[in-house]
């Protein structure tokens, strides 16, 4: 568990995503009709605009596309975290899915670095997605 106060606020459409992260799983919507993955969760497939979307476990792995090192605290509980690195990671499942997450490994980060999801539970309903070097 974490005592971080800046946490995602789920809505009815995204609740499964956050709950899965609380259990350590990165699930993404996968269209049963056209096979395209859609992130973040939305009610319409990004490939065919259909609504036949299924939540599926992903490999949880990807590669770093870009990153920033945050020195400024943008919220009250972030002062404890700075400086911290946010990586934008290209998911292995589909090249146009770029997911931001805090990079929590000590290794030097660079473009192309292989990473995997390292979820962190905030509550039973909500987990935070971090990335760690493989």
């Amino acid at each position: 568990m974490t005592d971080r106060r800046l946490v995602p606020v789920p809505d009815r459409d995204t609740a499964p995503y956050w709950a899965a992260l609380a259990q350590g799983r990165l699930i993404v919507q996968h269209c049963r009709d056209c096979g395209v993955w859609t992130w973040p969760a939305r009610p319409i497939c990004s490939g065919c605009h259909g609504d036949n979307l299924a939540w599926e476990d992903t490999s949880g792995t990807g590669s770093v596309y870009s990153w920033v090192v945050t020195h400024q605290a943008y919220g009250p509980d972030l002062a404890r975290m700075v400086p911290y690195t946010v990586a934008l990671v290209r998911l292995d499942e589909q090249g146009d899915i770029l997911i931001p997450g805090r990079f929590v490994s000590d290794v030097e980060i660079n473009q192309g670095l292989k990473v995997r999801a390292a979820p962190e539970a905030v509550s039973d309903e909500v987990g935070i997605l971090n990335w760690e070097a493989i």
């Binding site: 800046l6 973040p40 920033v68």
Partner: protein
């Protein structure tokens, strides 16, 4: 089939401009700031408060809305209003929308304004997430998860990708910061009037790598207002009419969305295409530009997106002095921009463009000043963007 060239080209003009002081602490409320700027703009236009029948603004709930202002101005019933959520990305759409209303004849005199206590009140740098009454965008949950909630972080992410792809450097960003400061030195409105060197830029502290403090715009208390009327009426008013030759507004790209796998592609491109169609001219016709500079990288990406440079081609232009006010072929941010003049979310760029086109820019005056490109933020964060081409009558 929709066609951007059907925009009511040059049918509307900016006839008046007004602004308050730009400061770190206005000492008054946002309501007062708006009222002061609007009254100044109406006076500048040679009109009266009773002439106004439309009010347009934008902001993230840190402004004063048209319905409240209308009461204060004694407007019995607004003919046209607009109150858009979000910041600079939607700024120029107020001009575009007002133009549609005026051109259609459903309004006669529309004021576009932005008023905020952006330094002494709700600040972008301290609390980007739902500070007291701010509406949270739907995608904030995905950003909160990563503690990735500030525009500085999101835009720095794109800047880094550009550096990786094209070899762009911090020195290139620094040239933009130094140029903006140079242009602000003799601008009486500017908040920052001490010189900045490249060494100063490189010594400024990291905010979000690769952005340093001097890559980031100011936070400002102040207001800017513009008075728009149909062009034939503007001819009879005191100043040279500044025609809205074209405007476009619409989608940019958000970073939290699949379908874009290269965030270095300038989100300005689709807006630029429609803008030039609306205006009936192209990049080579632009004589000077006031480009939205919440961060230095935005300027670079807009120079690419609006057709002035190939991808990766801006650093060479910076080194060649292309954007210098006095000697360059495309003077940029002639007032110092959001980086050094003040941060009124883009409307202060319009204010400066109007002064330049009128020939009233004093020491800042650029020689070729009839055709200007003015832009809102190019689409990061909100996914909206907006821009206009202004031409002197």
């Amino acid at each position: 089939m929709s066609d951007a060239s059907r925009f009511p080209r040059a049918e509307v003009a900016i006839a008046g401009i007004g602004c308050t002081e730009f400061s770190k602490d206005s000492g008054v409320g946002v309501f007062t700031l708006a009222a002061r700027a609007i009254k100044a703009a109406i006076l500048d236009a040679g009109l009266e408060v009773g002439d106004v029948d439309g009010l347009c603004t934008f902001g993230t709930n840190d402004s004063i809305p048209p319905n409240i202002l209308a009461q204060a101005l004694g407007i019995q019933s607004l003919s046209f209003y607009l109150d858009q959520f979000y910041g600079g990305s939607v700024s120029l759409s107020t001009i575009g929308q007002a133009t549609l209303a005026l051109s259609a004849g459903v309004a006669d005199c529309v004021v576009c304004y932005r008023a905020l206590n952006g330094r002494s009140g709700i600040r972008m740098s301290g609390s980007s997430v739902g500070a007291g009454g701010q509406r949270l965008p739907w995608d904030m949950q995905f950003k909160a998860s990563a503690a990735y909630i500030a525009p500085a972080q999101e835009i720095a992410m794109a800047a880094r990708a550009h550096m990786l792809k094209y070899g762009t450097t911090n020195e290139d960003f620094g040239r933009i910061a130094v140029l903006s400061r140079t242009h602000a030195l003799d601008n009486e409105r500017a908040m920052m009037r001490t010189p900045m060197t490249m060494d100063d830029y490189l010594a400024s502290r990291w905010i979000v790598e690769p952005f340093r403090k001097f890559d980031c715009c100011l936070e400002t208390d102040g207001a800017v207002a513009l008075v728009l009327v149909r062009s034939d009426r503007a001819k009879d008013l005191p100043h040279r009419p500044v025609l809205v030759q074209g405007a476009s507004w619409g989608g940019g790209t958000t970073i939290v969305n699949n379908g874009h796998d290269d965030i270095t592609e300038s989100p300005a491109k689709p807006i630029a295409d429609r803008l030039y169609k609306a205006a009936g001219l192209g990049p080579s016709d632009i004589e000077f530009a006031e480009l939205y500079d919440c961060f230095t990288y935005n300027v670079l990406s807009q120079v690419e997106g609006y057709g002035f440079a190939e991808s990766g081609g801006v650093p060479a232009m910076l080194a060649d002095g292309v954007f210098n006010r006095a000697t360059g072929s495309l003077p940029l941010n002639t007032h110092g921009g959001l980086l050094s003049e003040g941060y009124i979310h883009g409307l202060n760029h319009v204010y400066e463009a109007v002064q330049q086109i009128r020939g009233d820019a004093e020491h800042r005056q650029v020689e070729r000043h009839d055709v200007a490109l003015v832009t809102g933020q190019l689409g990061y964060v909100s996914g909206y963007s907006s821009a206009a081409v202004l031409v002197g009558a």
